[in-house]
């Protein structure tokens, strides 16, 4: 802007900055345009989530009004109290928690070992195993549910198996969740492990540890953030799962929170306020964890695909 001060008296000096201003103005217009588009995209993407939260806080008469009330004012917590006092809410939250904790713990232990093999050893059949892991990730759950159901209903009749497997058994669901959580965890973990240079373990071995000791003392602490990220992702997958729980947990007191939420309408008519409150509560743990790990996960399935 200093170009507009009278310090530049010659016509040449005035003309040149004038052109620069025009260029700048063109840039400014472009930037405003870009930001406007970005705001619009942001609004469209976030609105549904906002609408859920807003509805959850609105009193019933504001919800059931032909003209939308854009803000939850006056706000109320009654939808939330209503939701959590519904039948099975707490039982189903508890069920979800049990399932998730078991799935995450089991798959992390098992996946850690497999990831170790894939990232730290060369062996015959390694490539085939990786292809298997990736291929298995792609199997549609719907296709697996049919034979699983047959198996579970059979196992439920077999003495000695029926205390873990069978319809309406959380333990059965836990086992089935491993089908998609385990391959994913193996794949992600070995990616994290590959990021830890091998020489560190070699240095430790020369320093006097066994190979296994080097894994425990050097690799494990270094891959810990990856382990945390992977287990949170496993948590999210297990918490969000619907169809397996829907098919295998038919008893209301045995269901998980997603099934509880999906059957909200059927059981109680559509009661939008409490439904949105329940949805908000269901999404809450996931959102919190997601925000914690979001930087890492986008690389999970595609990491390193661009390498110059």
């Amino acid at each position: 802007m200093s170009s507009l001060t009278p310090l530049a008296p010659t016509p040449v000096a005035v003309r040149a900055p004038a052109r620069r201003i025009r260029v700048r103005r063109g840039k400014l217009v472009r930037r405003i345009g870009l930001n406007a588009v970005a705001l619009l995209v942001f609004a469209v993407m976030v609105f549904p989530v906002y609408w859920m939260v807003a509805t959850a806080f609105k009193p019933g008469r504001d919800i059931l009004d032909y003209k939308p009330h854009w803000f939850p004012a006056p706000a109320t917590l009654s939808n939330f109290t209503n939701a959590i006092h519904r039948q099975y809410f707490w039982t189903d939250v508890k069920n979800s928690a049990i399932v998730v904790v078991c799935v995450v713990t089991l798959s992390m232990v098992v996946a850690f070992l497999a990831a170790l093999a894939l990232s730290r050893f060369r062996f015959y059949g390694r490539g085939a195993f990786i292809v298997l892991i990736l291929g298995v990730l792609m199997l549609p759950l719907v296709a697996l549910i049919i034979p699983m159901y047959i198996t579970m209903s059979r196992a439920g009749q077999i003495h000695g198996l029926n205390w873990v497997l069978g319809v309406n058994k959380l333990s059965g669901v836990i086992v089935m969740y491993m089908t998609f959580v385990l391959p994913f965890s193996v794949w992600t973990l070995q990616g994290f492990m590959r990021g830890v240079p091998r020489e560190l373990e070699e240095a430790a071995m020369v320093d006097g540890t066994t190979r296994f000791g080097a894994f425990v003392r050097i690799l494990l602490p270094l891959v810990a953030p990856g382990l945390v990220a992977t287990s949170i992702f496993a948590f999210i997958q297990a918490w969000n799962e619907y169809i397996i729980a829907y098919v295998f947990l038919q008893d209301g007191s045995k269901q998980t929170i997603t099934v509880w939420l999906a059957s909200f309408t059927n059981l109680h008519g559509t009661d939008w306020g409490p439904l949105m409150a329940g949805a908000t509560l269901t999404a809450l743990p996931v959102v919190v964890f997601f925000v914690l790990i979001q930087r890492r996960i986008s690389f999970g399935l595609t990491a390193g695909a661009v390498k110059a």
């Binding site: 560190l200 240095a203 430790a204 071995m205 020369v206 320093d207 006097g208 190979r211 050097i218």
Partner: protein, 403 residues
């Protein structure tokens, strides 16, 4: 302290790469041996086999009088310095240094004493509580050294420990490592592809090429009496000039001819290499180090090589002249170190070769000038064109050319 001894060691990787082929080498107790060679020649592989990080396909490695082929790294009592240091990023400097002692169950008080002593020697006292990420490159290098020293092992193994440092620091650490090795007298096997490191640090230098050991000797003898064309072209910077010459008898003496260049060999020189007689009428490779060439004015009796200066590089203490001469350059890439050879040979015409000459710093030679170079006939090297082996000098023991 213990000697390290390779006996007919072979390493073949799973893919079929023969990384080390029949290696025989002894690093005596307290000796500092440097392993050099171009990239990919198997230096790291050899070192890692000693450390136990790589399986040995065939042969035997001993540390002291133990065969260590099947021992785990931790049972070999050696310490290793890695190229990128491999410091444990989640441990402080102190923890990095003490790790090996803890693993070996050294008493706590002894641990502390030894780490503190090493930290003092290496000037790391101020940073014991820092993590590797908070150190400069040179400091990291010191910690890596410290981690090896503190263990008081039977032998040190170092894989290009200085290659990640800048030039100044490298010179400084080079001296420091040599000094430490001298005080501790620990058997050391040191891998590098830096010639200067090899020549200045090692008691002996072992030159490798594509998995095969070429020659092992003291730096000076390696320089003065290279056993074959590869060693001759690899050792020394700038590299040795190599010409393809025909040996002819003229009058009573021998003459090397190549294009328009003619170098007459005095009788005594020819007599020192009795085998030269067998090459009369045949071609052989003639090697002249750049410092064996000078401006003719200094030595009126020496054979002269006339050429045209293409480029004169002033290096401060001296000048390096690239001189185009009418002669045939040696064209046997399979026998020489190609990377070094190509670096100084400017485009070669059919019958012209470029010679490098170390001239006085105040030389008057300018690009385009015609110069007469005097060759010091006592410092010529002769090699067989088929095998690449040096034609030996009588009375001097055959060097360890293991081709």
């Amino acid at each position: 302290m213990a000697a390290i001894r390779f006996t007919h060691v072979i390493k073949e990787y799973a893919g079929g790469t023969l990384a080390v082929d029949d290696l025989n080498l002894e690093v005596a107790e307290g000796e500092f041996v440097v392993l050099v060679g171009p990239s990919g020649c198997g230096k790291t592989t050899a070192l890692r086999m000693v450390a136990g990080l790589e399986e040995i396909t065939d042969g035997e490695i001993r540390i002291g009088d133990r065969v260590v082929n099947d021992l785990a790294p931790r049972d070999r009592d050696i310490a290793m310095v890695f190229q990128n240091y491999a410091l444990y990023p989640h441990k402080t400097v102190y923890e990095n240094l003490v790790f090996g002692l803890r693993m070996r169950k050294v008493p706590k008080s002894e641990q502390r004493r030894r780490v503190e002593e090493i930290a003092r020697i290496l000037g790391l006292e101020e940073m014991l509580e820092r993590r590797p990420a908070q150190l400069s490159g040179g400091q990291r290098q010191r910690v890596a050294m410290g981690r090896a020293i503190v263990r008081e092992p039977q032998a040190f193994l170092m894989d290009e420990p200085l290659s990640n440092l800048d030039a100044k620091l490298r010179v400084q650490m080079r001296a420091e490592i040599a000094r430490i090795q001298q005080t501790l007298r620990v058997t050391t096997l040191y891998v590098t592809h830096d010639q200067v490191e090899a020549m200045t640090m090692g008691h002996r230098v072992a030159v490798m090429r594509s998995g095969v050991l070429q020659q092992v000797d003291t730096p000076q003898r390696l320089y003065d009496l290279p056993g074959n064309l590869f060693v001759a072209s690899f050792v020394g910077s700038p590299a040795m000039n190599l010409l393809d010459v025909a040996l002819e008898r003229e009058g009573g003496g021998l003459v090397c001819r190549s294009g328009g260049v003619e170098i007459e060999l005095p009788v005594d020189i020819a007599a020192r290499r009795p085998q030269l007689e067998q090459y009369v009428g045949r071609r052989l490779a003639l090697g002249i180090r750049p410092e064996a060439l000078s401006e003719s004015s200094t030595d009126p009796d020496a054979p002269r090589i006339r050429g045209r200066a293409l480029l004169v590089e002033a290096l401060g203490a001296e000048s390096l002249a690239h001189v185009e001469v009418n002669a045939m350059a040696l064209d046997r890439p399979e026998l020489v170190d190609v990377s070094a050879a190509q670096a100084h040979l400017l485009p070669v015409g059919d019958r012209t070769a470029t010679l490098l000459a170390r001239l006085e710093h105040d030389t008057g030679v300018k690009p385009g000038h015609v110069v007469d170079l005097a060759a010091d006939v006592r410092r010529l090297h002769f090699f067989d064109l088929d095998t690449g082996s040096a034609i030996p000098v009588a009375g001097v023991p055959v060097t360890a050319a293991v081709v």
